[in-house]
Amino acid sequence: MIDTKKYIFTFVITSAIFATAFFTSTFFSNKRIESVKSIQDNIAIDILSSETQFSLLGEVPCSNVGESSLSPELSTLGDKLSRTEADRGTEDKDVIYLKKYYSLLQIKDYLLSKKLANKCGIAKKPIFIIYFYSNQGDCPDCEKEGYVLTRLREIHPDLRIYSFDYNLDLTAIDSMKTIYRVKSSLPALVIEDKTYIGFKTVEELEKLLPDTLKVATTTVSKKAIIKQNTPKVIVNGTTTVATTTKVVN
């Protein structure tokens, strides 16, 4: 004899377990988004603070513009954003919003770094790589280029890499694409204001980097080092690039 009530009761319990699992998962996923947003807000404040400080530079010597000038959390943010994108998917509206915010913060960081370099001279001048990628399946080499940039960043901690999703609908990124003449052929890399299209190995990129980076890297142990983070490269849900070290006199 079949006890229908027992089967219904079991169905209710099983459904409750499933509902709890989905609820818990959504709860933690939202917590993740909140965490990323919180980091972004902190970075925004940091950058605003740096910009304000920079405005005062006319009255303040360069030696006073130390580690606080650039956001230390941008690297962590890139990493966490990458994980969030992997979990929720590239089409998730929260992920898209966070990526846009992250891209803007990178641009602001890039502009501020350039201003600082110009104001405070060669010794502080960081080397930039701007990287355009796509994770819509139309760039088979983007994933590999991400590994290359991560490795390059490990070898040259002074390197500053800014990554941008080519397909992100953001006017600031469109402007960057126009300025650096980046078309749909990806991956695209901008080094020292020159644009390079197509996959580049670690060795090929090292040849393109200015000598000052190599000097700075080899003499790093002789100078005072202040830990500082740089943005990460996000390619197909894979995060790249670790912390950087800034050499100061």
Binding site: F9, T10, T14, F18, A21, S25, S35, D87, K144, T201
Partner: protein, 420 residues
């Protein structure tokens, strides 16, 4: 896209799996008092019992099997043992005859050409005139009170037609035997819970006891794809005969010591299950066969394919990660880094929580299985071996069984399984 589809298809199976576990656990806990009461059953009238011991080249283990039967706490004049030598080429027959010579009032020896286990048991059946009939594999042994406990079920409830015991692996030593020790612990719980639903899947060959009229109703044993015990259970369910489980009736059996032996044993079980289930497909989803037809049998059948699908999904996930790692190594070389501990990166997907619940319930099942019988095992030591090795073996024997069944291949491999 592929991942989304594969991932999505996992959820119905996970739901069914949780449903199955919840149903068994609720059935067990709501009948806990009844199960406790079973332990107090006593025999008022001792029925006569015949135990058949089919042997095929069992010279190493036969003596201990017969010794355990002779030591049973049961009236000697009510218990007879029939040793059937199924054409052994070793000293099995000689050992059996020594026992028969020493215990002529209890032991009878029959010898025949090799014809398979079912023919040996059927020969014993023909020579049995007892009220109850059972069979004990020649590599298994029983505890002193096993038969008494099992017979009590027949004495208390006249509708009980068969009683299955609680089977343990004897002295698990090798990794494979430890794996099986955990597998058998799970089966102890599952069989008990199935018993509460009147839907025991298999009355195993190792010392399941039957009323003699069972064979008059459903017929004798058949070859049944070398799983005669499962097939006769199917016939019993078809005839609406009641099968119960006695969790305190301990039987010890020897598990295959090697991976090869384990594989072929489980391949035989899996193939036999598939073939016999298909032969008795008329039982599927029929209300008249109760929980067995509506749930136990169909779910067990589906689980074979679920297991294979879960393997495909796992292989897809692992190989995807592996391809990423290889791609990275090929591109920039191997540069290992220390993993970073951050709660942010913990896996919090719904599937991970569901799998955690399944895992927790499985641990509970193991715990209950271990506490049900009187023989407590160090399952916490053996179960990691089970969780690591079983998922590696299961897709192999289930996959092969499905392929063999589909292409109707002959069972040449059955000779590899020493416990056929």
């Amino acid at each position: 896209m592929t991942y989304t589809i594969l991932h999505g298809l996992m959820y119905p199976f996970l739901f069914l799996s949780i449903y199955f576990q919840v149903l068994l656990l609720t059935s067990f806990f709501e009948n806990k008092k009844k199960i406790k009461k079973e332990e107090e059953y006593e025999i008022k009238n001792y029925p006569t019992v015949t135990v058949a011991v089919p042997c095929w080249n069992e010279e190493k283990t036969l003596a201990s099997t017969i010794d355990s039967l002779l030591a049973l706490d049961y009236p000697k004049d009510k218990l007879s043992i029939i040793i059937v030598d199924d054409g052994s080429k070793d000293r099995t027959l000689a050992i059996a005859e020594i026992y028969a010579y020493n215990h002529p009032e209890q032991i009878k020896v029959l010898s025949k050409e090799n014809g398979g286990k079912h023919t040996a048991v059927n020969l014993a059946l023909e020579h049995s005139t007892s009220d109850l009939f059972g069979c004990l594999d020649a590599d298994s042994s029983v505890e002193i009170n096993t038969l008494k406990i099992m017979v009590s079920y027949f004495d208390v409830d006249k509708n009980v037609m068969s009683v299955t015991p609680c089977i343990h692996i004897r002295n698990p030593r090798t990794l494979i035997q430890r794996l099986q020790a955990t597998e058998y612990l799970i089966n102890i719980f599952v069989r008990k819970a199935y018993g509460q639903l009147d839907s025991i899947l298999v009355a195993p060959g190792s010392f399941s006891i039957f009323r003699k009229e069972v064979f008059e109703i459903v017929g004798n044993y058949r070859k049944a794809h070398n799983t005669e015990d499962f097939e006769i259970t199917l016939r019993m369910h078809k005839a609406h005969l009641k099968v119960m489980n006695s969790h305190k009736a301990l039987v010890y059996t020897v598990g295959p010591a090697t991976a090869k032996g384990f594989f072929y044993q489980h391949l035989r079980w899996a193939r036999g299950f598939l073939e016999n289930s298909l032969n008795y497909r008329e039982l599927f989803f029929k209300k008249e066969y109760g929980n067995f037809g509506m749930f136990t049998l169909p779910v067990a059948f589906i689980f074979i394919f679920y297991g294979l699908y879960a393997t495909v999904f796992s292989v897809y996930i692992i190989s995807s990660q592996l391809i990423i790692s290889i791609n990275r190594w090929v591109t920039v070389g191997f540069h290992p880094q220390m993993p970073i501990f951050d709660l942010f990166y913990f896996n919090t997907t719904a599937m991970s929580f569901i799998v955690m619940v399944m895992f927790s319930m499985l641990l509970l099942v193991l715990y209950i299985g271990n506490t049900l019988s009187d023989d407590k095992q160090q399952f916490y030591f053996n179960f990691p071996i089970f969780f690591i090795l079983y998922p590696l073996f299961a897709p192999l024997f289930f996959g092969r069984a499905v392929i063999d069944t589909f292409f109707k291949r002959r069972n040449e491999w059955v000779l590899q399984d020493t416990k056929k």
